[in-house]
Structures are given as structure tokens and as C-alpha cells.
């Protein structure tokens, strides 16, 4: 009996001790630090220098390890707690200390794996212990929630004081970011224009003596010819004529990657467009009868073996099949031409892949389809917002650091350190390949710099030879793609007139509307024997259940056609200027 009691009490005490010792409290650390400091005072001057360095190192180490910072002493360096998406993060990389030194700040980076970012952000924001800076895009559902809860800070005053940042984006973009109270709460990450085009094997087309397809029928003929004649000698079981960039994914992702076909029928995916009957009304494209035709077209392509058989079902990435060199055409962004070409070359060492891009195809009824621009006008989901946890001094520090990254710090942020991550070749800085860096100086991995941006400036995404991301592209390919980009910007299809969706009815039901559309579209494409018209009627009925008519009315109320068109036009001008050749 006594033994039992002793055992149980020891266990309980042990557990309590362990839990209390788990996280070093500030008091404990301070004691350690002051002990060391006291000791150092007694030593000789030379030794003192060494000791204080040791103390500094210890303080530094302690500071970096803690995830949720306790309030620092008054004379401590200002700190920023940054919460962002970041895969493959190496906390010991060499760039972090350099940035801290240059900005005079202490930076706590919380790099969350992208697959779990949204959940973790949700939990962290709910707990009341907010980070200072978070990745949060204006288009996200969560943005409205946090905004309505009063968790975000308005940035207008700071933007006024930092013209470098304000002037980097056209005023229309800033206007589009204003919330209900007229203030701006986000620094948007304008990742550039990535038009969805058809990326096809020009070398195969040449071998078949086929010109670049201009209509949907010509495109189909090209695919059929590839299937019949196999110009690349791939083999019947491996060859797939057309594989969309994505084969599956939440939110209708896979369906959004066949836009060249959808727009050729006048019905872009998940789009609010102008009604063909009344150009002052905004309608949901999937409710138009032409949508049925588009789906049937895709269904027939799949039935005839021209479209990847696992489309909409497989969990693989379609693009990787294109990389494997067994595919004639995919949907893709033109800017990465050299990456695709390299991968195919690597898969088939004897091939001479030449990749061309088709901005848009003309549909059977003469509708000029595509191109479709993917990112929205308000910055993607890696934009940055500040929470109410940040003090005015910290917000100011954030803006100063952002400015630094866009100006004086730009060389470091883009090229790294000379001799470690880049070399000067013929007077021009050239980045080393990642494999070389990882072999010699892994802590200078350039990949880490991607994680250390607050928000990249728009010029970082410009498709120009002097942009580091695109520095490896051969000159002829660059000129070609710049031409394609200019072409797409002139001719792009507006896929969303519903720019302003800030209304309860819309936000509540928009996801369900999209869900019903996904279901309808997938069923038609995947089932050759399904009665499309019956299914379409059922679809329209299902939409009524999720308040579709109210949503449509609200969309029309909040978005005036003229204003949206003006905003897109302004975007065009700024995007075109970003593609200029040097």
C-alpha cells in the first residue's frame, strides 16, 4: 500500500516537474545570461571581449529558438514575428543573419509547410496570440473573417509615408484592395501575368507537317495525327496526346486547366461574364447552354483517346507527364519554356524538343477563345497583412524592411552573396546552379531567399532577361515568349466581372455554386452515355437550392460593368510595360 502511494505520488510529481521544465522561461534564461555576464566582468579585457561575444551568441540563440516571443526589454532590438508559407526551410541559412544585420531587426520566422498553412493560421489567429505579419490574400475567405473581427491593421498612413512602395503599383490596384471602411489592409504580391495557353511539341507538328493550330478543330486534328502516327516514337501505351496541366485538385482546379477549350465556346471555367444577350448583365458562364457544348467536346476527346484518360480522377500532376516527354500538348504558362524543354530533353536524350505556345483557339461557332490570365488583380494568397499584435513601431519597421528589400537589399535578396551563390561573369552577376551551391555552401542555398521575402516587388516577376528567375532562358526563346505574352495581354479574356464579392449571401453560397458546377461538369466529361440535357436541367435546379438567383443579383449590384472593364484596362497597360525587352 505504501509502495503504491509512493509510486503514484512520484509519478505525479515527476510529470509536473517535467511539464514545468519543458520551456525555458525568460527568468531562467536571464539568470544564466547575467551569470555569464557577471563572470565576464571579472576577467581581463581581451578575455572580456571573447566572453561578451559568447554572451551575445547565447542571447541570440535563445532569441531565435523561442517561437512566441515574450515582451522584450526596452532597449532590446525591435522584433517582428512573421508567419508565412515556407516549405523546406533551413533555419541555419546564411541569409537570415545578413538581413537582420542590414535592417537592425530581430526576425522570428515561422515557416509553415504549405499543405497545412491555412489550418495553422486559423488556429494561431483564434488563440489570440497573433503573429505580427501573416500571409493573407484579400481574395481569401479568411480575410473577410479576420477583417470583420477587427484583427487586421489599416496601412494607409504607412503607405503614404513610403512612396517607393505606393508607386510600385498602379493606383487601380490599390483601389481594388480597399475594404468596406475605405482602408487598405494588405501589401499585395502581384506575381505577374501567367496566361494559360496551349504548350505543344512544335517538333512533332513539324514532323507531321502541320501548322500551328488556330481553331479547335485544327487542334483536334493535330492531336489525332500524333495519336495515329506517333512522330516521337514514344509507343502506343505511353503516348498521351493531350494532358491538362492538372488532373485533379480541390476547388475545380483540374477543370480550370482546360480554358483554351472552355473559352473557345465562350464559357470560361467558374466565370462571371457578360451575358451574350445583354452586355450590361453579368451571368455565371456555366449556366449558358454553350457550357454543355464545351463539356461534350471534352467528353468526346476523352472517348476518342485524345484526352488523358485519368483526367479529373488521378491524383498525379499532369505537367509531370509532359515533363516525361510522352505528351503532345498541355496547358501551361509560357514563362517556363526552358524548364519544360530541359525536362523533356532529359527524358529523351535523342529528341530535339521545340515548344510553342498557342494563346487561343477559335471555337466551332467562331468565338475567339483564350487566353485566360490566372492570378487575380488583388494579389495572390502570399500577400502580407499585419495584425493588431504589431505595435506602430513594428509596422514602421515592417515597411522599412520592405523598402529595403525592394531597393538596397534587392541585390542580396535576388542574387545572394558573391562567391557563394553567384559569380560575376563578364561583368554580369550570374547565379550558380542550386546543385553546385548545395555541394559547396549549403547554407547559402538560394531557395531560402524565396522564404525571406516579405513581399516581392512586381519587378521580380517581370519577364525580362535581367530578372534572375528568367536569366537562364536563351535569348531567342525569351524573345519568342515575350511576343506570346504581349499577344495574350492584348487579347485576354476577362473571366471575372465579379471582382467585388464582399457580401454575406455571395460568400455563403459561392463555394456551393462552384461545387455543383464541378459535379455537373465532371459527370458529363467522365460518362460517355450520360444524357447531357437532363443532367443540365438537374444542375440548374440544384443551383436554385443554393440561392443562385440571389447571388447573381448581388454580383450585378456590387459590380458595374464599366468599372470592372476600366480596372482590367489599367492592368493591361501596366502589364505590357512589364514585358518590355531591354
Amino acid at each position: 500500500m505504501k509502495r503504491a502511494f509512493v509510486f503514484v505520488s512520484l509519478l505525479t510529481i515527476a510529470v509536473m516537474l517535467i511539464t514545468s521544465c519543458a520551456a525555458p522561461t525568460p527568468q531562467v534564461v536571464e539568470k544564466v545570461v547575467t551569470q555569464v555576464v557577471e563572470k565576464s566582468v571579472e576577467k581581463v579585457v581581451e578575455k572580456q571581449v571573447v566572453q561578451t561575444q559568447v554572451v551575445e551568441k547565447q542571447v541570440e540563440k535563445q532569441v531565435v529558438v523561442t517561437a512566441t516571443p515574450k515582451p522584450l526589454a526596452k532597449d532590446a532590438k525591435l522584433s517582428l514575428n512573421i508567419f508565412r508559407v515556407g516549405d523546406s526551410w533551413d533555419p541555419k541559412n546564411a541569409y537570415l543573419p545578413l538581413i537582420e544585420k542590414a535592417t537592425g531587426l530581430t526576425l522570428f520566422w515561422q515557416q509553415i509547410p504549405s499543405a497545412n498553412y491555412l489550418e495553422k493560421r486559423n488556429v494561431v489567429m483564434a488563440s489570440g496570440n497573433y503573429p505580427d505579419v501573416i500571409n493573407l490574400g484579400v481574395a481569401e475567405v479568411a480575410f473577410q473573417q479576420y477583417y470583420n473581427d477587427g484583427l487586421l491593421l489599416p496601412l494607409d498612413d504607412y503607405l503614404k509615408k513610403h512612396p517607393i512602395i505606393w508607386n510600385a503599383l498602379p493606383p487601380e490596384i490599390w483601389e481594388a484592395l480597399r475594404q468596406k471602411d475605405g482602408k487598405i489592409y494588405t501589401i499585395p504580391r502581384m506575381s505577374g501575368i501567367f496566361p494559360q495557353t496551349i504548350n505543344y511539341r512544335r517538333d512533332w507538328a513539324d514532323a507531321l507537317k502541320i501548322e500551328q493550330p488556330k481553331t479547335l478543330d485544327e487542334f483536334r486534328a493535330f492531336l489525332q495525327a500524333v495519336k495515329d502516327k506517333d512522330p516521337g516514337a514514344i509507343g502506343k501505351d505511353k503516348l498521351i496526346p493531350f494532358v491538362p496541366n492538372r488532373l485533379s485538385g480541390g476547388g475545380g482546379l483540374a477543370l480550370s486547366w482546360v480554358e483554351p477549350v472552355m473559352t473557345a465556346f465562350g464559357t470560361p471555367w467558374n466565370a462571371w461574364i457578360l451575358s451574350p444577350q445583354d452586355p450590361n448583365k453579368i451571368v455565371y458562364a456555366a449556366t449558358l447552354p454553350e457550357f454543355k457544348d464545351a463539356l461534350v467536346y471534352l467528353r468526346n476527346m476523352m472517348k476518342d483517346g485524345l484526352l488523358d484518360q485519368t483526367y479529373l480522377v488521378s491524383t498525379e500532376r499532369g505537367l509531370f507527364k509532359y515533363y516525361a516527354g510522352t505528351v503532345a500538348a498541355t496547358t501551361d504558362w509560357p514563362q517556363f519554356i526552358n524548364l519544360r524543354r530541359e525536362a523533356i530533353q532529359n527524358a529523351y536524350k535523342d529528341a530535339k524538343p521545340a515548344l510553342n505556345y498557342i494563346p487561343g483557339l477559335v471555337g466551332p461557332k467562331g468565338v475567339k477563345g483564350g487566353p485566360v490570365i490566372t492570378p487575380n488583380l488583388r494579389g495572390d494568397n502570399q500577400s502580407m497583412s499585419l495584425t493588431i499584435s504589431a505595435s506602430p513601431a513594428q509596422v514602421e519597421a515592417f515597411f522599412k524592411m520592405l523598402e529595403w528589400q525592394w531597393t538596397d537589399g534587392y541585390p542580396l535578396m535576388t542574387m545572394g552573396v558573391e562567391g557563394k551563390s553567384f559569380d560575376v561573369v563578364n561583368g554580369l552577376p550570374k547565379r550558380r546552379g542550386r546543385d553546385a551551391i548545395l555541394k559547396s555552401d549549403p547554407q547559402y542555398d538560394l531557395y531560402m531567399l524565396d522564404r525571406l521575402w516579405l513581399v516581392e516587388p512586381p519587378k521580380w516577376f517581370a519577364f525580362r532577361p535581367d530578372t534572375p528567375s528568367f536569366a537562364d532562358i536563351p535569348a531567342d526563346e525569351m524573345t519568342y515568349v515575350q511576343g506570346v505574352l504581349k499577344d495574350t495581354v492584348q487579347n485576354w479574356v476577362i473571366t471575372s466581372y465579379a471582382m467585388n464579392t464582399n457580401d454575406k449571401v455571395i460568400l455563403d453560397n459561392i463555394a456551393d455554386i462552384q461545387s455543383k458546377t464541378e459535379e455537373f461538369a465532371s459527370k458529363v466529361i467522365l460518362n460517355p452515355n450520360l444524357d447531357v440535357n437532363a443532367e443540365y436541367d438537374a444542375f440548374l435546379k440544384a443551383l436554385k437550392q443554393v440561392k443562385f438567383d440571389e447571388v447573381t443579383a448581388k454580383v450585378n449590384e456590387l459590380n458595374k460593368v464599366k468599372d470592372v472593364q476600366a480596372a482590367w484596362k489599367a492592368m493591361q497597360a501596366s502589364f505590357i510595360s512589364a514585358i518590355e525587352t531591354k
Binding site: A4, T12, N122, A126, V313, E316, S515, E519, S522, K523
Partner: protein, 320 residues
């Protein structure tokens, strides 16, 4: 003889009550060592399970992190009404329950049969190897295993190719609403049967060998032995597992469904968790997420308690 009859009865009743309580207390005191042994686990459960339960009130509030739990306004059942009011919720609930039930009813026998069969063979090495290899799929996450199943079953995959070699048409199992739930059930069985069999194997090992000796002396063949010795011995484990799984019926397997389903089968395969996740229903809405959890918990408790009662009537060994 007492003068006042009514006070006498009262005092007898209260005396009885006090008597009963004091008897109970005395019995408890006799067992005080046991309560002490239970204490460590109880402490952990209180700290890490019960204290967070106070957070469940968020489901009944319009929770804002700024105001915290004690400052957020009370909205009662509003979130539940919102959830149940969403179009198609009933279908989603039905899907969740049906998929769970199918998995339970069809999924429980396979590991049991596997354990019984393993128990029947004499070749020890074979038994160990088979046990071990069968447990491997459990260690793969559904992202990996489900992805593999999709590759296998998708058009153009090994399954379809085998069928066409036999001149059969591909039934398109992954995109046909009528077959998709079966795909979920069968793939889960294949993945987990080896691992689930462990607990039954452990129970079978605990059976006294002399029972078998006695049965053989009585002339019982192996099937009779199985019916009268082996099965009754693991009956307890089977029933307990059944009840416990029933309590989790609204958890129909988020990861599996999310990886393996596609929009053409939403109508039969969308479960509560995938719906909530996909629609982003709880993104930023902390109260709603908690409400879903409360709903699942309440249903789970009801099911466990009622199934326990029903099975008790059938004179099975139950949880209570």
C-alpha cells in the same frame, strides 16, 4: 412506539439513505488503493481532455479572438442551424453514416477471419511473415495508398487493362456513383485488415490450450473447436471494438475520401469533414468548426450509450 408517525418514516428513509451512502463510502474506502492507481491517468485526462472542453462553448458563441471566450456574445444554436440548413447537408450526413456503417459491417469480419485463419496453420514462419506483411499497408498514409488505388483503378490503369484483356468493359469504378462507396470500403479493408487483426491475434493467444485438449478428447473437429472455444473467447473484443467504432461513426475517414474522390461522385461520397474542408466553411470561422465537432461528439455519445444498452440486453460483454 413513536407518537408522530410521519417524522418516523422520514427519518427511516433518511436513515436508509445515509446508511446506503455510508456503506458505499466504506466500500470505496476499502478500495482506496485502486482509486490512487487511477489517479495519474485521471489527471492527464482532466488536463488534456476535460479542460479544453471549456472551449466547446465557442460553438454556441459568436467567437472573436479579440474578445476571447468570456467576452464573445452568446448565439445559442445559430451555428448548428446554419450547418443543418445548408443545402444538401442531409445528403452529406447520410453519406457519412452510410460509409461508416458499410465500413463497420463489412470491415469487421475480414480481420477476424484473417486472425482465425492464421491461427489454424501450423507453419510458424509462414504465420509470422504473413502477419507482418499484411500489416504493412497500415503504415502508408492515405495520400500514398489512396493515390496508388486511384492509379490502379483509373481508366487506363492496371485494373482496366486486365479487364479489357478479358474482353470486359471498364466499369469506371471511380467515377460511377453506384460503385464508389464500395471502392472506399474495399480499399479500406485491404489497407487495414492486417493491422486490425493484431488485436484479435492477441486475444486468441490468451486462450487456455487445455480447453482445446479437452474439446478434442470430446471428439470435436476443428470447426467445432473454432465455434465453441475460439470465437466466444474473442467475442468480448469484437463487441467492444464494435461499440467503440460506432461512437466514431461520423468520422468516415477524411483523408481517404479526400484523396480518392472526385467531383463526379460528390453526391455519394461527400462526408461532413470533406465538405467542411473543401468549402472552406470553417476557414476563419472558429465557432463553426467547433460546432461541427460538438455535433459529431453528441451523436457519438448517443450511439455508444444506446448500442451498449442494446448489446447488454443481448447478453454480450459490453463497455458498461
Amino acid at each position: 412506539m413513536k407518537v408522530d408517525a410521519i417524522p418516523a418514516i422520514q427519518s427511516r428513509q433518511t436513515r436508509r439513505a445515509y446508511g446506503a451512502i455510508s456503506i458505499w463510502l466504506r466500500r470505496a474506502w476499502k478500495q482506496r488503493q485502486l482509486y490512487l492507481l487511477f489517479l495519474p491517468a485521471a489527471i492527464f485526462l482532466i488536463v488534456f481532455a476535460y479542460i479544453p472542453y471549456t472551449g466547446l462553448v465557442m460553438a454556441f458563441q459568436d467567437f472573436s479572438p479579440r474578445r476571447g471566450i468570456f467576452g464573445s456574445p452568446w448565439v445559442g444554436l445559430e451555428h448548428f442551424q446554419y450547418l443543418f440548413g445548408r443545402a444538401g447537408f442531409f445528403q452529406i450526413l447520410l453519406n457519412t453514416v452510410l460509409i461508416s456503417l458499410y465500413k463497420l459491417v463489412f470491415g469487421m469480419p475480414i480481420p477476424i477471419i484473417f486472425a482465425l485463419l492464421l491461427n489454424e496453420i501450423r507453419w510458424i514462419a509462414f504465420r509470422r511473415v504473413s502477419q507482418t506483411l499484411a500489416s504493412f499497408p497500415h503504415f502508408l498514409s492515405w495520400v500514398v495508398y489512396g493515390g496508388l488505388m486511384v492509379i490502379f483503378l483509373a481508366p487506363g490503369g492496371a485494373f482496366a487493362n486486365t479487364l479489357s484483356a478479358l474482353n470486359l468493359q471498364d466499369p469506371r469504378l471511380l467515377s460511377t456513383p453506384a460503385t464508389f462507396r464500395s471502392v472506399l470500403v474495399v480499399t479500406e479493408i485491404l489497407k487495414e485488415f492486417g493491422w486490425s487483426a493484431i488485436i484479435y491475434l492477441a486475444a486468441i493467444t490468451a486462450i487456455d490450450p487445455t480447453l482445446y485438449e479437452a474439446a478434442m478428447v470430446d471428439g470435436a473437429n476443428r470447426w467445432q473447436q473454432m465455434r465453441h472455444i475460439t470465437l466466444p473467447a474473442i467475442r468480448g473484443v469484437i463487441v467492444i471494438l464494435f461499440i467503440l467504432h460506432l461512437g466514431r461513426i461520423l468520422d468516415a475517414g477524411f483523408e481517404q475520401v479526400f484523396v480518392m474522390y472526385n467531383p463526379s461522385v460528390y453526391s455519394v461520397a461527400e462526408i461532413i469533414d470533406t465538405y467542411v474542408y473543401r468549402i472552406g466553411l470553417v476557414s476563419g470561422r472558429f465557432s463553426l468548426g467547433t460546432a461541427v465537432g460538438v455535433f459529431k461528439g453528441v451523436i457519438g455519445v448517443i450511439l455508444i450509450l444506446s448500442s451498449n444498452q442494446v448489446l447488454k440486453h443481448l447478453r454480450m460483454p459490453t463497455i458498461w
